[in-house]
Amino acid sequence: MNNPDEPKLRIRGLCKAFGAKSVLRGVDLDARAGESVVIIGGSGTGKSVTIKCVLGLVEPDSGSILVDGIESVGLRGAAREAVTARMGMLFQGGALFDSLSVWENVAFGLVAAGQKSRREAKPVALDTLARVGLGPEVGELMPAELSGGMQKRVALARVIAANPDIVFFDEPTTGLDPIMADVINDLIVQCVRELGATALSITHDMVSARKIADRIAMLHDGQIVWSGPVSEVDRCDNAYVDQFIHARASGPIRMAVRR
């Protein structure tokens, strides 16, 4: 099972359509243990759907998703929970539970999985908040009282509190100012390294992608059109990647102005 050559996460031929609209058309992607892979691509190319398929939030129409060599597509009930329990996801808007205080949000996964009681989980939650640079006084606040950047940090703390093997980041820097975005990028790199986790991120922010990625994959029109080490992204001769990283309106990628 833990063959060192075997990727932590192997996606093959992943397809998903919503009604007549085909979003994923055979995505192939690997992520080795401890590797940070960033999927780049324009809006509506299927980046979020890819991650949601891996997490089991969206059922793919066809294709295979191997986690540690075990097929996860079609898993249900306890078997699905066992796979999901090893994953963590930072949602684009943070998705903090607004009826719970900050520390209860961070402790949620620990308590829900039955690892700890509420009383035991609180110090762990406060420690985890400290790891993302937030003091214990923040723990008692409600999510609505926090700024966007602080909410992202709390959401990151909630992800790492449960020590996941695989973490997903959905546009982690969207909506943040450049300085806060850089802080979040640094935190992501640091936390992923400390966890020793495999990270799969999606973003259209190239600054963020360069910072957190070991490897970059470009998704266009439901397929991976290029993938390679982050150092090669500037030297590759792929027209899609070239247009995307240089943010040019003209090129092979045609933005759907009207849908």
Partner: protein
Amino acid sequence: MKALAAIGRAFLALLEGIGRLALFAALAISHILRPPFYPRVLLRQMVDIGYYSLPVVALTTLFSGMVLALQSHTGFARFSAEGAVAGVVSLAITRELAPVLAGLMVAGRVGASMAAELGTMRVTEQIDALSTLSTDPMKYLVAPRLLAGFTMLPLLVLVGDVIGIFGGYIVGIYKLDFAPAAYIDQTWRFVEIHDVTTGLVKAAAFGFLVSLMGCYHGYRSQGGAQGVGRAATDAVVSSAILILVFNYIITELFFAK
């Protein structure tokens, strides 16, 4: 032929909707019965539905009882049957008005807020986040709300029964010049335990329906703020209609000879 096709499509969509709702309800009930349970969430919902709806239900039933006493008095005075006022007020309140009005008021207050809360959680990905944190959203969000609605509305209606009858009593004594002892005696002689229990059975059914529609529309909402607004409206309208339909069905079951 086009008209027939349109009717057929609408009918199929209706059946599909009923099927989806039935599956949703069955799944939610199975989660109510299976651990893990979330007592903190349940308690919070019980307080929200039961305690915070008390003023609304109390005011509604109080004034209904008062109006009923006035109306029935003017009606019965024609036949010199004023003595029946106390009985009519208590029967109407316990069997019909308290459960139906409390159900409708709770549908407006709680059903809409459930749909809006769950709808917002859906569009801000909080429901997805629950799934990624080893928590089944149906179990954590829907099951406690259904159980709280099912258990709290009968309690509200019990309080509403007392307050409604008290409303009739106030009008009877201070406006219609009944003797207090005679009014209370009339009430006791008319009301049977059966009248109260059927009202409570209705209340339990209505509480379940209100929570079910609130959760169902909120859970499935999509499309941002507009979708959340639509979910809240749909929840209130559908639960109000279902309350009236089920009121007839339950009455038929209990009282039809």
